[in-house]
Symmetry: C2
Subunit: 238 residues, 2 copies
DNA sequence: ACCTGAACACCGTTCAAGT
DNA sequence: ACCTGAACACCGTTCAAGT
């Protein structure tokens, strides 16, 4: 099914060669094409040869994530906590656009590697340097969730509205009638852009909207002194 | 590997019986135990018998999600948009606590079923009834992301700090030294609670913190008239 | 000592044979 | 016409045989 474009490699196998080949294979053919067997074939070796460089498939995926996370831009200097966090997270998002399979793999990982811990530690450090108390920083990191990695979990794709006489619209006329609010939302953004062209920009704006709601909320709670007293507090404004 | 607790059933197979058995199997033995083969064995039938009631495994998982979503409490009356949204999402979260496998399955679904669309449509309707313009509602729904389903994507579990003489702490002493900010955060919450006992409550508070930052942000933008003019706006306060 | 092919224990699903 | 067992085309990984 997967064409072995480079059935032969030059030079000896190494962990780096294996991981880079895995990322290239995922970039080109999707993550479902990355099996130990097909990756070995891509490298022109027998499947078991890979086990000399990665303990098992989990470790292969961990290594792929490490390569991705290493692409995220380092913290900016002198942008303030908000600007620094914002730039890094948007940089993470740019990385993911180059590796569309990465969110799925990232969310499947169960143990953080050293490189992943470095990134998290660095993000936390930015909040702390910005004057955030430990308690608030703790909440804030969890509130970011997967946004920390440049993506959000949009579970179900918003159905597209029935486009005039076009019969291929994902939302049929009767579906639209049954879910009027959904149809309204699905229509809201696509009217001023040329179909699929503008969708990438919409996704970017949606991501930044959610990110900024959170960052602004964090800023407000910080300014109000959240966590600087003993009492446990919720996030709601008083 | 999986013990067929009820290797025999009474009465004929039906779609409902199959789906409920799948949910019960996932509840009891985890989602990885739900294969077409093991589910069939659990029901005392041959694997192919299931294909009379679900087209394939994807449809089985869709049906399982439908059963879960149907457990979410209906909208409250007269709680205002904020209270209504908050109660439903926290209800969704209660449902997930009874079915810990559900988030993983929900996030793997690619097409929304009618029941899922009903839930989304209803949530959107609550914002609209609360006076939210279409544009803002659109952004707000995306900003909620998976929180809409009662969970967030905590990708990597926060490492636990080295607990005194306890050698089993996930974060070793040298790891703690390398990631000082992470250690500080990991320590922040666990000091006032008795180890694993209080962790469930912490998770609940973390979820509500993030949810409330978003809901408060939505409220503020709505009050400021976001989306009621022609101009496209970001989420940042002016 | 190293490499590797066959084999194991699983999948979801197809398909044809048996009733 | 219906049910079902064997088979197909995959997995990740073990293990022993061959060099």
């Amino acid at each position: 099914m997967v064409k072995p474009v480079h059935a032969r490699r030059r030079g000896p196998l190494s962990r780096g060669v294996v991981l880079r080949a895995a990322v290239a294979l995922a970039d080109g053919a999707g993550i479902e094409a990355v099996s130990m067997r097909s990756l070995a074939q891509e490298l022109g070796v027998v499947p078991m040869a890979l086990y000399k460089h990665v303990a098992n498939k989990d470790e292969l995926l961990d290594g792929m994530v490490d390569l991705i996370v290493a692409e995220i831009a380092p913290p900016t200097q002198d942008a303030g906590w908000k600007g620094t966090i914002r730039q890094r997270i948007l940089s993470a998002r740019q990385v993911l656009l180059r590796h569309p399979w990465a969110p799925e793999v990232i969310k499947s990982r169960t143990n953080a590697t050293a490189i992943v811990l470095d990134y998290m530690n660095s993000l936390i450090g930015t909040f702390r340097a910005g004057g955030f108390p430990v308690d608030l920083t703790h909440q804030v990191i969890h509130a970011l969730g997967s946004r920390m990695w440049g993506f959000t979990l949009e579970v179900f794709p918003m159905p597209s509205p029935p486009a005039g006489p076009d019969p291929g619209g994902a939302m049929s006329r009767q579906t639209a009638a049954r879910y009027p609010h959904l149809m309204e939302i699905a229509t809201a953004r696509s009217d001023d852009e040329g179909g699929t062209v503008g969708r990438g920009r919409d996704l970017q704006l949606e991501f930044e909207f959610g990110l900024d709601v959170l960052l602004d909320g964090f800023e407000r709670l910080h300014q109000q002194g959240w966590g600087s007293t003993d009492a446990r507090q919720g996030a709601s404004a008083v």
